[in-house]
Amino acid sequence: MDTSQLLKGVLPMAALSVISTGDAYGYEVLHELRSAGLGTVGDASVYGTLQRAYDAGLLSSYLVASDSGPSRRYYSLTPTGQVALKDARETWDVFCDVVTGLLDRGATP
């Protein structure tokens, strides 16, 4: 199954969730997502998702100087972002139950 469309739908929620465990910079979020099992996720998708969430006021950011190379932009959840993540979680739980229920009722080949 092609997971790219599924990924697009859940990526904002997944990225917010990573940041909710502690402020992180873009590349760190990408690595967290990949090591959690979303191995196919690309930098452009994660960066674009973070940028959108930032533009929508779900994330705030600050620069932190790095020992190696340029400073890094760390993201943290805003109160709006926390609410959005909570909402997304509830929607996801319901959605998951519904789809799993449908699949369970379907004929398994």
């Binding site: 690309g42 930098d43 998708s45 533009d55």
Partner: protein, 209 residues
């Protein structure tokens, strides 16, 4: 910025040449900041710039690329002026321009009405009483030029009203943007350019989030 990074950003920029100018500039400037954080290995892993651009546009909820003429120049990232969008005009000069537009368009409409009425009457009388009362033809009146108002930053309704006030037609394209729903985020032709009356101004209006 390293050459590899520079080239990469330039190619992403080219793949976004169809986006409205401010949107594209913001995308590229933000992307440069992001990519500077990556080390050389990570940049090598990014793959094909065109594919990266397509993936980024999808993630940003921007429309997929439309082909553009090859001659559209890419902006060398080093030469970006400081970001400034939307352009801010002082309130006073904006009002003076609006006032001039309104007065100008009023005069133009009076002239047009007179010409149309005259031509219409002449045509009617020509029809009823035969030839001999030929009037100057309306097409001899040159189409007046009008300045395009600055419509970015206002609501769709207000922008439409302002454009129509100076005799311009309006076409609306809804685009994804983080600006409030209904706000005009871009316009074409640009503000303050001189165009013929009746020209269609394309407004890009935010769909909101």
């Amino acid at each position: 910025m390293t050459t590899a990074l520079n080239d990469f950003v330039r190619q992403v920029d080219q793949a976004c040449a169809d986006l409205p100018e401010p949107q594209r500039r913001k995308l590229v400037v933000d992307l440069e900041d992001h990519l500077r954080e990556l080390d050389a290995d990570a940049i090598a892993e990014l793959g094909d710039p065109a594919a990266y651009a397509a993936e980024l546009r999808a993630a940003l909820d921007l429309p997929t690329a439309r082909p553009v003429p090859a001659h559209v120049p890419a902006y060398p990232p080093a030469q970006y002026p400081p970001a400034q969008y939307p352009p801010q005009k002082s309130g006073l000069s904006t009002w003076i321009i609006v006032a001039l537009c309104v007065v100008g368009s009023g005069l133009i409409m009076v002239v047009l009405f007179a010409a149309l009425a005259f031509f219409g009457l002449a045509a009617t009388s020509q029809h009823s009483s035969g030839p001999g009362t030929g009037a100057p033809v309306a097409s001899a009146v040159p189409i007046p030029m009008v300045p395009v108002p600055n419509l970015v930053g206002g609501t769709q309704a207000k922008a439409t009203e302002s454009a129509q006030a100076v005799g311009l037609d309006v076409r609306v394209e809804v685009v994804a943007s983080n600006r409030p729903k209904g706000e005009v985020v871009a316009q074409s032709p640009a503000a303050f350019s001189q165009v013929q009356q009746g020209t269609t101004v394309v407004l890009q209006v935010s769909s909101g989030r």
